[in-house]
């Protein structure tokens, strides 16, 4: 996983995935072969077509797909900065600095059952035993749930977890807590890796509809920071305006 910071993470923290070779929308093998076949078929249909407009459209779409398959890159995923491993896992990470001690923030995260309060797309986390828990999320297609286990627990520094085999959405991740330089509190770094339902096309659709984990993670981290620093979330909901109903 790419580490954009000059400050090295504390010892003992390892990224949730193998350091990936490419962070710029590398397509998985299966997707490439499907895309390549469809592309070639479209090009063929285009060439056979009598109507020039169809020849042009089918030909160029087909050529585009074939080129994507040949180079192994999905230009849309690259443009949207969706990071993927060669195995087709989507990588998501973000960070926020919060003016509180690492121990306090760690304790909030370690209380898994209360996480849905911070992360609005999380519907419930049910703690099964010391290591295992059941996670339920709201997805565009309905609720999805899986079992996960904690794979590392370093009080005040790091929590890592992974979905157990057979999960609907294969995923793993970690959260790091490290002191910020000066008196700024704690840097909270979250790294997630998951297999998007629908491959890179699914990840792109989710990004475009604003349901994608990178966006959810950003919102969740800001909500966490504000909950910790202010004790509430700023809002304009219910304020006066000249719109229908008079409210914003």
């Amino acid at each position: 996983m790419s580490e954009d910071r000059s400050t090295p993470p504390p010892e003992g923290s390892t990224p949730p995935t193998e350091p990936q070779t490419d962070a710029a929308g590398q397509l998985p093998a299966l997707e490439r072969s499907v895309m390549g076949s469809v592309g070639v078929a479209l090009m063929g249909a285009g060439l056979r077509s009598a109507r020039p407009i169809r020849k042009l459209v089918l030909g160029s779409v087909g050529a585009g797909l074939a080129a994507m398959a040949a180079t192994g890159r999905n230009p849309l995923a690259t443009a949207l900065k969706i990071r993927q491993t060669p195995q087709g896992e989507v990588l998501v990470s973000d960070a926020v600095t919060i003016g509180k001690p690492a121990d306090d923030l760690y304790r909030v995260w370690r209380d898994l059952a209360s996480l849905p309060r911070l992360m609005t797309h999380l519907k419930a986390v049910e703690v099964l035993d010391g290591r295992r828990s059941r996670w339920t999320v709201e997805a565009p297609t309905g609720t999805v749930s899986w079992e996960a286990e904690i794979t590392a627990d370093e009080p005040g520094r790091r929590i890592a977890w992974a979905a157990l085999p057979g999960a609907a959405v294969e995923n793993h991740g970690e959260v790091l807590f490290r002191p910020a330089p000066g008196d700024r509190g704690t840097e909270v770094v979250v790294r997630l890796a998951y297999h998007p339902p629908g491959g890179s096309a699914g990840a792109i659709a989710a990004r475009l509809f604003g349901e994608e984990p990178a966006q959810q993670l950003r919102d969740d981290l800001m909500r966490f920071k504000r909950e910790q620093e202010l004790g509430f979330a700023p809002t304009t909901e219910g304020q006066s305006s000249a719109r229908a109903g008079g409210q914003a």
Partner: protein, 392 residues
């Protein structure tokens, strides 16, 4: 209540809207006694600031009387007479604790919009200034909701008139911070101010207060230049003189030690560069027209400071970066950290060092405001600063 409402590009109107209510325990409601139209409101009128929505209540320069406080408000009491900084700041995040109030981490509910445009981070919220800046209802209205009421509002205990203290909410601190950012060496440094609008006027007078040896103000509107001249500034009308030649001559070939661009993203200017900027802005290819910024970079002395209180919104090109680099310029810019300037500048007003009401040319009711937005934008009738009485 009555409020000034954004109805789309080039359309503001007076509408009756619901009275504001407390939304959080840290809120207060202010009965507005005076409010003003800011030059930056004209960017909203012109539709060049993204993320405005029809029905938004405008206004970020206002003062009044506290009529209601939330249960967690400690410092402010019902009946207090207050000026309210245009920035909304939480007061507890790291930027706020360092005095960088406009960079507040926590006050913008729509942080994601600003993050998408501005490098992954969001500044604080502003009153009445687009949803990207929080979508907070503004104060060109009879009442306004003030979030973080213990952090922003500043009590006025002396008997100074509204007109003398109203501009502590924005344009006086904004002009002052622009001058302070220059790091003026008293008795030695020459400061040039592009734009003789309200912020430019306060920047010029603040530069004088901070000891500038000489202040030069550049504009094209005669009454604005006259106002600067009355304060003892040298003035240059860029439509009558070549501004770069005039600045060079006025400074013995060195250029001004510091240049303040109090114009921002909708510079008029002239010449091919200005024409290209206008076309690009109209076509939404670019947010900003940057004649003033170009002149600032080209005219500034070696080792000098270019200070930008004027608002910029997006991407710009054809910036003479080579000149800036060759001369070793320092850039200072950004939204004003209003909160930290209110008390010291109020002291200067109380001591009689400055009476900010000099800048007012028009006084009116809310009903007159839509016309006055246009008057102000078109710089008609000698209009420099409009103050509104919401109860007139």
């Amino acid at each position: 209540m009555k409020a000034i409402v954004w109805q789309g590009a080039n359309r503001v109107g007076v509408e009756t809207v619901p009275d504001p209510t407390l939304l959080l325990p840290t809120d207060a409601i202010i009965r507005v006694t005076s409010t003003a139209i800011c030059g930056s409101d004209l960017h909203l009128l012109d539709g060049v600031i993204p993320s405005m929505e029809k029905g938004d209540i405008l206004g970020h320069e206002f003062m009044g009387e506290v009529v209601e406080v939330g249960r967690d408000v400690r410092r402010l009491k019902v009946g207090d007479r207050v000026v309210v900084p245009f920035n909304i700041s939480c007061g507890v995040c790291d930027p706020c604790r360092r005095g960088l109030f406009s960079a507040c981490d926590n006050s913008n509910p729509n942080h994601r919009m600003a993050e998408a445009l501005y490098g992954g981070v969001s500044g604080g919220g502003l009153f009445g200034y687009s949803h990207m800046y929080g979508g907070y209802a503004g104060g060109q209205a009879q009442y306004v909701r003030v979030p973080f009421a213990d952090v922003g509002p500043h009590r006025i205990e002396s008997d100074l008139r509204d007109e003398q203290v109203l501009f502590l909410t924005d344009i006086f601190p904004t002009g002052y911070q622009a001058a302070e950012n220059c790091g003026i060496v008293p008795g030695r440094d020459v400061v040039a101010v592009f734009g003789a609008g309200p912020v430019g006027q306060f920047a010029a007078r603040s530069a004088q207060m901070l000891g500038a040896a000489h202040v030069i103000v550049i504009d094209r509107v005669p009454e604005r230049l006259a106002m600067a001249e009355a304060a003892g500034c040298q003035v240059i009308n860029y439509e009558q003189e070549d501004v770069l030649v005039a600045l060079r001559e006025s400074t013995g070939g060195r250029g001004p030690d510091h240049v303040i661009d109090a114009v921002g993203m909708e510079a008029h200017g002239h010449g091919p560069g200005a024409l290209v900027d206008t076309a690009r802005q109209r076509l939404k290819l670019s947010f900003d027209r940057i004649t003033a910024l170009r002149w600032a970079l080209l005219s500034c002395a070696k080792g000098g400071t270019v200070s930008l209180p004027g608002v910029y919104g997006g991407l710009i090109d054809k910036v003479p970066m080579g000149a800036a680099f060759a001369k070793g310029l320092t850039f200072r810019m950004g939204q004003t950290h209003t909160h930290r300037h209110v008390a010291p500048l109020l002291s200067r007003i109380e001591a009689g060092e400055i009476d900010p009401s000099f800048v007012i040319t028009h006084r009116a009711s809310l009903d007159d405001a839509p016309d006055l937005y246009r008057t102000f934008r078109d710089k008609q009738g000698g209009c420099i600063k409009v103050v509104l009485n919401p109860w007139a």
